[in-house]
């Protein structure tokens, strides 16, 4: 091979004038100059590989960091928070000695290029974050957004994404208990594939990503390292060092859920035997990330021999090995005396495991290849001292016009017939239609602890068989609201997820988020981003639910056209006994229907304005987080004291959407009466926040009313569970059969 001499640290020092392809690797000139300044010499190829991936937007949060700080600065006091932002995932105390970890991440772009594998590896990645905290993963959720439902490319992307999420999650044995599916032309070419996971552990089992204890061994285990997902590293390898190499390696990876299942089992077995000092999953930036983060979070340094990394492709260069994003790999730090046992467990599970290095008592990360030292850096400079940008942001000038285009002024249905037709159109519209065609491709039952899953307001998992302790999770986001007002939109996403959790009877505890936006280089997008974070941080402070971690996905845009700003919020809650969970479905005829909260004329960003008028304008519904908290308390108390048999929160589509869903799920109709002071249209379609519909057994009516009265929550009787139609008295009736056909036929017709 005509390979030039190995680019060691020594070689780099001797050849200061060699030009490295920093621009091709995505670094800016000043960023490269900073690397040179930090090192006091030019970087080696391998060092450049590490800095370039770790300082990328994805890994360094260089555009978002200055704003994300608010989650820490405004963090509410919370006894529940055991591990906060900064680790692989946050950890929350849920009582009885249990801790729960959860997080949401994005895999947007890969899922557009290769929907099945992109989505599948998204699930794989988030699950490894959960294992890395010491927890057994117990459930996944998948908030998704696609282009217009009838766009031909949606037919390519959606089935692949859904099959990928199912294919991976089902094979891991993780019940899928929630998520979202939203269609909007703004996501054409930029679908959002977010994936979340929850894990459970005992308090004492929490593990952190740090390497400490000089002499401890660094073990890489899981899949062999291959040439997939390398992106820029191959440029470095080919153009600088070896022109014979293929110049581009594929940026898409194929997942192996079977391998990941083995990884879960063998990692948990190692945790159980207390063999692990520190642990980190390999996700974005692969070994570059794992080694630099482990080393910089620990007390010492680290020495790694790259030749010991098991390879799938023997032609990989050291730069490529450092940057490879091959899936299903983990890195553990293990005391020397426990290494044999660790390797034994890996072998039991047929998982390849190799000691690739050790913790040193210095403070350098040193990496060797063929006997030469190719990396010698302070790991903190790689992992934590990346560039930070104060990107300019400015409220876009079109914002005023958008808000002035008031949806409340759109023509409303003039007759009962028209009202009825619009109800049918709403419940059949792609965003409001049943998502069963999608969710039936996910296993809800595996692990035998699923108490609630789709289409309930939140997913719920039992975590203790004896006591019935459980956790609930809901994810929400409404890009239309956020487009009208990003600050309020983010709070509405938070409020809705919070409300969904409380509706099932669980107490909301903590938040994770996935912030999907366009290009940070556009000041308008940056303003949306800053506003959304400000809204979310303020909201979390007010509700007392700390943000425990999350993910930022920028550059979701094609040319000038960015997606709607789409903050997706996950709220985690706890329920002391899952036996008292409140389902969505109507349970018994004769039960009384109450509407909790205030209904105002609020149609900006509403489903009605989209479905009937294809309109987006005005202001989103007002947020009152104190009211949300009160509503939550009432819903939880009512569940605890057995005062309600079903409940459903109101959100997009308004009251009629909620009632139709409860009726179809329970197979029981409802008679609704428009209360004084409201017109039928506003009652049915308004999207005022802070509301829920509950079904109260007659025997509990007085007690329930007294409770709401005493606590000051507006409560209005709106009807009764009855018959086999949804009957809005004096207006129209729609049979359950007709509603079911409208609600359930849409998605299969579009996709099957």
């Amino acid at each position: 091979m005509s390979r030039t001499p190995l680019d060691t640290v020594e070689h780099a020092a001797e050849t200061p004038d060699v030009e490295l392809p920093w621009a091709e690797l995505g670094l800016k000139k000043d960023e490269y100059e900073r690397v040179v300044e930090i090192l006091g010499r030019r970087p080696t190829g391998a060092e450049l590989a590490m800095y370039s991936v770790m300082w990328s937007e994805h890994c360094s949060y260089k555009s978002s960091k200055v704003h994300l700080r608010q989650f820490g600065e405004k963090a509410p006091q919370s006894d529940a928070l055991l591990v906060g932002i900064g680790e692989n995932a946050g950890v929350v105390d849920v009582g009885q000695g249990y801790a729960v970890t959860f997080k949401v991440e994005s895999h947007n772009h890969p899922s557009y290029v290769e929907p099945y594998q992109g989505a599948a590896t998204g699930v794989g990645g988030i699950v490894r974050d959960i294992i890395a905290m010491g927890a057994r993963p117990v459930a996944v959720v998948d908030p998704l957004r696609f282009g217009a439902a009838d766009h031909p490319d949606t037919k390519r992307v959606l089935p692949g994404v859904v099959a990928g999420i199912g294919g991976y999650g089902n094979c891991l044995g993780l019940p899928n208990i929630g998520g979202e599916v939203v269609f909007d032309a703004c996501y054409q070419g930029n679908p959002l594939v977010n994936a979340g996971a929850i894990g459970v552990m005992r308090h004492e089992d929490i593990h952190l990503a740090k390497a400490s204890g000089a002499g401890n061994k660094v073990i890489l285990y899981g899949a062999r390292t291959g040439g997939d997902g390398i992106g820029g590293a191959s440029i470095l390898a080919s153009e600088t060092f070896d022109d014979a190499k293929p110049s581009k390696r594929p940026a898409v990876q194929v997942g192996d859920p079977f391998q990941e299942k083995l990884l879960i089992e063998c990692t948990l077995e190692a945790f159980k035997e207390k063999l692990v000092v520190g642990i980190q999953d390999l996700g974005a930036a692969g070994l570059s990330c794992a080694t630099s983060e482990l080393a910089s979070n620990g007390s010492g340094g680290m020495r790694v021999t790259l030749d010991d990394v098991p390879l799938r492709d023997s032609t990989l260069s050291p730069e490529e090995i450092l940057m490879s994003e091959s899936q299903e790999r983990m890195c553990a730090v293990v005391e020397p005396a426990k290494v044999d046992r660790f390797l034994e467990i890996c072998e039991k599970w047929d998982v390849i495991a190799t000691v690739i290095g050790e913790v040193t008592d210095g403070d350098r990360l040193e990496i060797f290849w063929h006997g030469g030292k190719i990396v010698d850096v302070d790991p903190r400079t790689v992992a934590h001292d990346g560039p930070v940008y104060e990107r300019p942001y400015a409220r876009p000038e079109w914002q005023d016009a958008l808000q002035a285009d008031d949806a409340n002024k759109l023509p409303r249905p003039a007759t009962a017939e028209e009202l009825k037709a619009q109800v049918l159109k709403l419940v059949a519209s792609p965003n409001q239609a049943s998502k069963k065609w999608i969710t039936s491709q996910y296993d809800h039952f595996v692990q035998g602890n699923t108490v609630l899953a789709q289409p309930e307001d939140s997913g719920m998992i039992r975590i203790d068989e004896e006591t019935g302790l459980g956790v609930a999770i809901a994810t929400d986001g409404n890009g239309r609201y956020a487009k009208l007002d990003p600050y309020t939109g983010a709070q509405l996403a938070l409020a809705e997820a919070y409300r969904n959790v409380a509706t099932t009877g669980a107490k909301p505890l903590a938040v994770s988020d996935c912030l999907n936006f366009g290009s940070p280089e556009d000041p308008a997008v940056m303003w949306q981003f800053a506003e959304a974070i400000r809204g979310l941080a303020d909201g979390c402070l007010q509700l007392g639910t700390p943000v425990t971690g999350g993910n930022v996905s920028l550059y979701n845009q094609t040319g000038e056209a960015a997606i709607h700003p789409t903050p997706v919020v996950a709220v985690l809650g706890v329920i002391d006994d899952v036996a008292r969970r409140t389902p969505v479905a109507f349970q018994e005829e004769g039960q009384l229907l109450y509407l909790l909260g205030d209904t105002r004329e609020e149609f900006g960003g509403s489903a009605w304005s989209q479905v009937v008028h294809d309109h987006l304008g005005g202001l989103p519904p007002k947020v009152d987080l104190e009211r949300e908290r009160l509503l939550g308390e009432i819903l939880i108390s009512a569940s605890r004291d057995g005062m309600i048999d079903s409940a459903h929160d109101l959100s997009d589509g308004g009251l009629i959407q909620a009632v139709v869903e409860s009726a179809l799920l329970g197979g029981k109709g409802a008679r609704l009466v428009v209360p004084d002071g409201l017109d039928a249209f506003t009652l049915l379609f308004s999207e005022s926040a802070g509301r829920a519909v509950v079904a109260v057994p007659r025997s509990e009516e007085v007690r329930f009313n007294d409770m709401c009265g005493a606590r000051g929550l507006p409560v209005t009787r709106i009807g009764v569970v009855d018959g086999d139609s949804v009957d809005v008295q004096g207006e129209f009736a729609l049979s359950l059969a007709e509603l079911r056909e409208a609600h359930e036929a849409t998605i299969p017709a579009l996709l099957a």
Partner: protein
């Protein structure tokens, strides 16, 4: 004295722990068996649980069928050991030729997860004695490769001999021939089915029904009375 029922864990098994729980809830003692271990540890019966053993790569069940534990299971099943294969376990049993026919991808090409209505056609096997023949039950179903196929001769023979143990009602969720959801061998000790009785043993959890529990009480009674 109670019965000891083994549950095999293959790499990629998912429902092994749930199956152990179902066995416990029925009052028997679950015994974990490991795929690399030929020894069945004196269990009185064996369940091959659901999951994606070996990722369902090649064909569902095809690789597990060659595991060490299966050598013993195959040998002892032929000698009368009660064996239940659930979902992936059923697939392994067909691959091992302990049950006739084969399993293919669902005809609609998607994974399907639903609460499935079934009819118990044969209540005389080791695993179905606590049901009535003709009883209709609801049990969760979740699979990718659930389409049961066999040639017409085999299907006729199964039906003639009463060896179709379960049939799908209302909806055929995967294109299985003649709506077959589960079958038994001639002796009635080996039973395989696609739906998951171990997920229907507790109120509240899953679909909230307990229609699957009789599988485990059937075998317990049989073993204790034996």
């Amino acid at each position: 004295m109670t019965a000891r029922i083994g549950v095999v864990t293959f790499p990629g098994s998912l429902d092994d722990r749930d199956t152990q729980r179902a066995i416990r809830l029925a009052g028997a003692e679950p015994v974990a068996l490991w795929h690399k271990d030929k020894d069945l540890h004196q269990v009185d019966a064996v369940v091959l649980p659901g999951g994606f053993s070996y990722g369902d790569y090649l064909r569902a069940g095809a690789i597990s069928r060659f595991s060490p534990v299966m050598e013993t299971v195959i040998e002892q099943a032929k000698a009368g050991l009660p064996v239940l294969g659930i979902c992936n376990g059923f697939q392994i049993l067909t691959e091992a030729h302990l049950l006739p026919g084969g399993m293919l991808g669902n005809d609609h090409l998607h994974f399907v997860c639903r609460e499935q209505k079934l009819r118990v056609e044969n209540a005389d096997t080791a695993w179905t004695a606590d049901y009535e023949a003709g009883q209709e039950i609801h049990i969760p179903l979740k699979n990718m490769d659930g389409r049961y196929v066999a040639d017409a001769y085999t299907l006729d023979k199964l039906e003639a001999e009463g060896r179709v143990a379960f049939r799908y009602l209302d909806v055929n969720p995967n294109g299985s021939l003649r709506d077959i959801a589960g079958i038994t061998n001639e002796a009635g000790n080996v039973v395989g089915l696609m739906p998951h009785p171990e997920h229907a043993v507790e109120p509240l959890i899953g679909t909230g029904r307990t229609d699957g529990l009789p599988f485990f009480t059937s075998i317990l009674k049989k073993l204790v009375n034996a």
